[in-house]
């Protein structure tokens, strides 16, 4: 079972598709959650997901905007998609019938 942050990262990477890399995923998570996302948490979680076979990463192109430094590109694998689906289904099931709307 995925952790909350792992799910966020997988979802952000899946949404960004071919444009998924470190900085873009970080921005996506920050916008979605409204909370800061540290580079340390992002990269260590990426490593963990890659070790589990849920994502594949490789060094991509560099841009002048990045000071000529390469991007770490991310692609969610089929195994990662199944894990994210399982997590989403579990959250949906457990939330069924519960309203979080404040009274």
């Amino acid at each position: 079972m995925l952790g909350e942050f792992e799910y966020l990262l997988l979802t952000a990477a899946a949404r960004l598709a071919d444009d998924a890399y470190g900085a873009a995923i970080r921005q996506e998570i920050e916008q979605a959650t409204g909370r800061p996302c540290s580079i340390g948490a992002l990269y260590t979680t990426l490593d963990r997901l890659e070790q589990k076979g849920f994502v594949k990463t490789w060094m991509g192109e560099s841009t002048p905007q990045r000071g000529g430094r390469a991007k770490r590109m991310v692609k969610v694998t089929a195994k990662g998609i199944r894990q994210a689906q399982a997590f989403y289904n579990a959250v949906s099931r457990v939330t069924r019938g519960v309203s979080w709307e404040s009274a």
Binding site: Y21, G22, A23, R26, Q27, S38, I39, G40, A41, Y43, T44, D47, E50, Q51, T57, M59, S62, T63, Q65, R66, G67, R69, A70, K71, R72
Partner: protein, 269 residues
């Protein structure tokens, strides 16, 4: 925040980033540049990741092996050797300076003739430098990105004897500090080379076992004049280096074999 402080934080972030692997350093610094983070923010981002990586490194046995089996004992023993070598340099510089007033036969009788002393000092210096390079190499090859800490501990234990000697004896102490500085510089060079992994670990073990045994053959009385009983400890040190590298080499071979058999997963990167 002033421009000066921002520059300092940026510089520190760049230095801390050296603790990361080159590809990761590249992507992280690129992300930071792209997000427009500078100064304290950039430093905090890099330092956070570097701290996590360092913490993960210490979950492996290798940096612990380097610390406990090499940095502390080798640092301490080689610091003591430096101290005695410096006292030898001090003694023979005094003999050279006052040679005209000394009786050569008296020097020969007390085993302090010039040729004996200079040859002995040269052999001891070469041996000490070989040992310091070997220690640095082993520390670097075992610790990799944790070398900054294992190396610092090595330096601290190494400097104990020369610094305490310098505080007691002014002229000989200054010589001890010079010898310690040169020896440590050679150790740092060894650490740098040890961080590159071109040679299989078991080959390193055999190579360094041989080099240390060679060093032992040129060992002479000058190293430990008042501490003959230290020979046993010295022999432990001699066995320590190849022992440490053998453990590391066997571990690496075992893991490689387990990967081939599919018992453990291939690392992703």
């Amino acid at each position: 925040m002033g421009i000066g402080m921002t520059r300092i934080w940026n510089w520190l972030a760049g230095k801390i980033a050296l603790l990361l692997e080159p590809t990761e350093r590249d992507s992280v610094l690129g992300d930071i540049a792209e997000n427009g983070e500078t100064g304290w923010q950039a430093f905090r981002s890099v330092a956070g990741l570097a701290a996590r990586r360092q913490f993960a490194l210490w979950k492996n046995f290798r940096p612990w092996l380097a610390m406990v089996a090499v940095s502390i004992p080798a640092g301490f023993l080689m610091g003591s050797a430096t101290r005695w070598l410096a006292s030898g340099y001090n003694l023979y510089s005094w003999i050279l300076w006052n040679y005209r007033d000394l009786d050569p036969s008296l020097l020969a009788e007390s085993h302090m003739s010039l040729d004996h002393g200079i040859w002995g000092l040269a052999r001891a210096s070469v041996t000490l430098l070989a040992w310091s390079w070997s220690s640095g190499y082993i520390i670097g090859s075992l610790s990799h990105f944790a070398t900054w800490l294992t190396g610092t501990v090595f330096c601290a234990f190494f400097l104990l004897a020369p610094v305490s000697y310098a505080l007691q004896e002014q002229s000989a102490g200054a010589a001890a500090l010079v010898v310690a500085g040169i020896t440590l510089a050679v150790s740092f060079f060894g650490m740098r080379m040890g961080r590159r992994p071109p040679v299989p670990a078991l080959v390193q073990a055999i190579f360094w076992g041989c080099s240390i045994l060679t060093a032992l053959t040129v060992y002479n009385w000058f190293w430990w004049p008042p501490l003959r009983g230290m020979h046993a400890i010295l022999l432990v040190l001699v066995a320590l280096f190849p022992g440490v590298l053998s453990i590391n080499g066997l571990w690496a071979l075992g893991r490689a074999a387990a990967r081939r058999q599919g018992w453990i997963k291939q690392p992703p990167r």
